[in-house]
């Protein structure tokens, strides 16, 4: 069966919204463990300012001390040229840039207009050229919690502009869990038709329970790359109490059960997932690490 690639984002997108600092040693140990599970990519950390995101203030140390697996690309989030310089010095394999396709969300989240974001990120792309590939993550592509649904054409227009600047990959993000399967299928078809030469990734949140249904719709439409977060970590400020990113091990378990080749050692991944409550100090939303693999049998019992 077809190969589906996963990019594990827990130590960046997942940890970023945690209230309590996670020790650098824990982050490194987790990234090293994930590096052995078969991911195509791991978004390890973010080169933002320590003041903006104190959780990821140890980006340099994390990138220096992880034991890199030759099969994995270690990607990092980069907000600007200063971050890109730090990322390149830290030998990141890929720079991941972020912009919202919703003007209101970009203003709220990044405190600048989309045009200003594009201008800044153009400089980052120029700096990375000839060194490492660049990926652009387009936030709120399936809807903005303040503006509502974002027209598909608007998403494609911004994707076009980044494609023409030479990015290798495009991640289309359902930042606050608003996407539904029909919308996902429509988006996936449009992306595949227009950007077949780019690495196309979908990034879903399970905020309203639709995360794995959206993965299914995307796979049916031909998408073969997803972001996932171990344990389903990574909340959303607009949905207190709701879950965050789709859970990597739940999505991978489903796709493997369906016969897809994910390249992932699921037992090893579930062992890592089971450490998450200790690492973050609270329960996590992921299901399969609690329930066990669907093929794990229980001894007969008479109630």
């Amino acid at each position: 069966m077809k190969r589906i690639h996963f990019n594990e984002v827990v130590t960046r997108d997942g940890f970023q919204s945690e209230p309590t600092f996670i020790p650098t040693d824990e982050k490194i140990a987790l990234i090293d463990e994930l590096g052995q599970c078969g991911f195509s990519k791991i978004e390890a950390t973010s080169f933002t300012s320590a003041r903006a995101i104190p959780m990821l203030r140890d980006a340099e140390e994390v990138m220096r001390r992880i034991r890199r697996s030759s099969d994995v690309e270690y990607s990092v989030l980069v907000p600007n040229v200063r971050g890109a310089e730090r990322a390149l010095k830290s030998r990141a394999d890929e720079l991941n840039l972020v912009m919202s396709v919703s003007e209101t969300h970009n203003l709220a989240n990044l405190r600048m207009s989309r045009e200003k974001s594009l201008a800044d990120l153009r400089d980052v792309i120029a700096l990375a050229a000839g060194h490492v590939p660049v990926n652009i993550s387009l936030s709120t592509s399936f809807g903005c919690p303040m503006e509502g649904e974002i027209p598909l054409d608007e998403v494609l227009r911004w994707a076009d502009r980044y494609a023409s600047l030479g990015v290798r990959g495009l991640t289309i993000c359902d930042t606050t869990g608003m996407a539904h399967p029909i919308q996902v299928a429509r988006m996936a078809e449009a992306l595949i038709a227009r950007f077949s030469d780019l690495q196309l990734t979908l990034h879903f949140h399970n905020t309203r329970g639709m995360g794995l249904a959206n993965v299914l719709a995307a796979v049916q439409a031909g998408i073969d790359r997803f972001d996932g977060s171990l344990g389903g970590l990574g909340g959303c400020p607009y949905a207190p109490g709701a879950t965050g990113n789709i859970c990597s091990e739940d999505a991978i378990h489903m796709l493997q059960a369906m016969g897809y080749d994910t390249g992932i050692n699921l037992s090893q991944l579930m062992a890592a997932a089971r450490k998450m409550p200790r690492i973050v100090g609270h329960e996590v939303p992921g299901q399969v690490a609690k329930a066990g693999h669907s093929t794990e049998l229980h001894p007969p019992q008479h109630q």
Copy 2:
């Protein structure tokens, strides 16, 4: 768009696994509230022995005191002839019978062989004939936690036997959340091909996070009836800590967002769902009641 019907099972399947008795008044108020939401069917309670399931010892009182909506069928679970007599006296609109297609699970759960179950339930079906329609729920149809995967032909064989006894409906249950979307599509196609004259319902659990993906796969294959539980209540003894039945409001929210006609007033249903933590005394797995409808907009904020 096509109509999708929901059968709300929270006060039976959901409450049954709760450790603390829920007062009869609370059950009645909840069923009355659900009766106004647009469900095609509500599985209100179960006529089992009070010793076996103390939570539902108030079945007669519940059925007597609810205010019935003329648009809703009030179904009840019935394990045997004694239960069926009580149910008929209580003016239930439908009797729902249960048997596992896994011999091991039937022995563990109902303490009898499948053949003995069929013989007993044949008497129940005969008793109901001419009074109310009968539905048979076939547990562990997508896999048994002790036997593993159950061959599709085995499920169809038992369905055939009940169909020939004159049941109106067939509910195919993924009792412990083992089903995956390809298996669901295959099952749905086989059921529709063979039992087009029966009311076909699918019953999923979200134990491994695949619940709504399975709903999607089933709808794509032509299924138009689902069991759901408010808040996602209803655990599984084989998966401590994992979630239970698919969450009605999450499934309905997804299908409505996709354009399906569910007949449900979702705002009213979400209001009911938000009472669940108080009623059962703990958090519930449902997502959309926490996050809000995907079309609910938030005021712009600058962080």
